[in-house]
Each structure stands twice: as structure tokens, then as C-alpha cells.
């Protein structure tokens, strides 16, 4: 199984709906400082619920919605960000029953492709978070449980953020041991 595509729509600096194809081997992402590379990594953390305490560099979830002007401006009307992670599951790493279990229904289409989508919507006075698995509405925990079954977890360092390596070097020995406490 591998990620075959990411679809970012109004997520952080991706102000236009952007499809990013990935392949099953070794893909590199490069570009100037501030261009949006870490934002792509953040989109995976966001959609798959993988953020650790040091999280996705956003004070509040609505900071993740594309904002072309002053970040303190008050927004009128609705704004929304979404990220979709499309997995190629042709090798059956996740089997159909696991998806049915997580989605709580068996109308999930084919599972040779598994789609996880997360939306954050901000209205004048509130904000909402939505999660979808193959188009079906689910909870974040359904997605996290499903992914944990294939070894994708927040504590497993599947996604190593910029600064994680430095953080491991600088943290106290006790905190470093706690990394293993969490995994065990």
C-alpha cells in the first residue's frame, strides 16, 4: 500500500485545489524556503490524525485554512480547508473488512483504493471538523484505529517533521525514554 495522491484544497499556502501525485518508491520534495514543502507534510499529519503534541504549527485549527491577507483579519462568511489522502491498496494491505469496520457500513465502494478526507470549516461564530473514509462520514478515532492496524501512528514517527531530529537531540533523557514508553 502507498499514498498515490494528495489533494489539498485551501490548506495552508495551497490556496488552489492542488493534486500532488506520489509513487510507491522514493519521492523527494524540494524548493525554496517558505514555498510550501512542510505544508505538504502537515497536510498528511492533518488528514490522518498523526499530529503529536508539537503538532501542526497552527495555534488553532482554523489557522490551517488558506488565508491570503493579514492572519488577524476577521473573516466574514464561511471558509473551509480540506485534504484528501488517496491510498493505492491494490496489494490488499488493508482488507475490505477493516474498512467496513472503520466506516461502520459496507457501502464503501472498492477498497483497492482507500480515501481518507478531512475538512475544517469556519463560520462566523464557530468551526467544524469532518472526516470521511471512502466518502462515508466517520470519526477521527475510526481513521486512527484503521491506520494503527498498518503501523501508522502518531508515536511511531511515520512522519518526521522539520526539527524533530533536533528535538530528540535536545530533549531530556527522560523525555527520550518516554518516546519508547508511548510505543510500548
Amino acid at each position: 500500500m502507498h499514498i498515490k495522491e494528495l489533494v489539498l484544497d485551501d490548506f495552508k499556502s495551497f490556496g488552489r485545489k492542488t493534486r500532488i501525485p506520489f509513487y510507491e518508491d522514493f519521492t523527494t520534495i524540494s524548493g525554496p524556503n517558505g514555498s510550501g514543502k512542510s505544508n505538504i507534510i502537515d497536510s498528511v499529519l492533518f488528514a490522518l490524525g498523526l499530529a503529536r503534541t508539537s503538532g501542526i504549527r497552527a495555534e488553532k485549527l482554523t489557522d490551517l485554512i488558506y488565508n491570503p491577507d493579514d492572519t488577524d483579519a476577521t473573516h466574514t462568511g464561511e471558509r473551509e480547508a480540506s485534504v484528501e489522502v488517496v491510498f493505492d491498496n491494490n496489494d490488499g494491505t488493508i482488507d475490505r473488512s477493516q474498512v467496513i469496520n472503520a466506516a461502520g457500513t459496507d457501502s464503501i465502494g472498492e477498497t483497492d483504493e482507500i480515501t481518507v478526507k478531512r475538512r475544517v470549516k469556519e463560520t462566523a461564530d464557530n468551526y467544524y471538523s469532518y472526516y470521511y473514509l471512502n466518502g462515508r462520514s466517520v470519526n477521527l478515532s475510526d481513521i486512527k484505529d484503521l491506520l494503527a492496524q498498518v503501523g501508522v501512528t502518531p508515536e511511531g514517527y511515520n512522519v518526521v517533521m522539520q526539527g524533530d531530529v533536533t528535538e530528540i537531540i535536545n530533549m531530556s533523557a527522560g523525555n527520550r525514554r518516554r518516546i519508547i514508553d508511548e510505543i510500548a
Binding site: 502507498h2 490556496g15 520534495i29 514555498s35 510550501g36 505538504i40 503501523g151 514517527y157 519508547i180
Partner: protein
Amino acid sequence: KKATFMEAYEAINEQFETIFSRLSDGSGTLFLENEEDPFDGGLTMKAQPGDKPVQRLAAMSGGEKSLTALAFVFAIQRYNPAPFYALDEVDAFLDAANADAVGELIDELAGKAQFIVVSHRSALLERSERAIGVTMHQDNVSAVTGIDLSEESPPEVPAND
């Protein structure tokens, strides 16, 4: 409880030792400050790069610490294997030789799992089969260009180094 911890610890340490000796021309191991009661002490790493004396993490050079911490991360990843991994600029303090060793290891691990790696370093960029270039456009919107390197077309993405 201690048993669960020690089981994970031993397994991760085994991975760490393998990966570390692969990345550096020396040997390294995880180290519990209190082996009797792990929860009463912390965790650090001890390494012997090449034929130098054993040093704890705190005494190593910037690049040596980076390589050691990265080996630890790879060991954690291998303890509970997953279909994909993403790494964001883990090579910032590595010299050319060490960045090369890391690139080689990732290339090999990418045979079994998908690796998505953000980097500015040619040691890594030159090894990938695919390169995605990201730029910020005038209207403050990020844009992406993708290049398939497996057909041997020259990468349009200028390697930072």
C-alpha cells in the same frame, strides 16, 4: 509495566544498532540510565564512530548527534513497519558523506515502503525516482511541479547544494 517497555526497548535497540553501524563506520547502542528501573532514569545513546572512544550523545559533534538521532528514528519506524514514511529536512547538519549514507539507506528501505522526503541536499535529491518541486507564486499560493526522474530526464528542480 517494565516488561512491555523492555520488550519494545530491546527490539528498537536491535534495530538501532544495525542501522547505526550501517550509517556510520562505527557502532552505537541505546543506553538506559537506570537498567534496573528504566522509568527511574532516561534514555540516551552511546556510540563509537570508527575507532574513537565511546561517547554519549551529549558529547558528540553536531553532525554526529544528528546521525545518531536519525538512526533512532529509523529504528522506531522499523519496530512497527508501515507502508509509508515522510521525512522533512532530517539532513540539515550532515556533511556530504553522511548525507550520502542516509540517502543510500533510504533508497534501500524504499524498496519495501514508500518514502516521501523533503530535502535541499543533492545527496538525497539525486537518489529519488521522483522529484516534486514546490514554489510560492506571486499571489502567495503554493504550486507544485512533478518530475519523473526514473526516465532519466534532468531534474528541473535545482538542488540547493
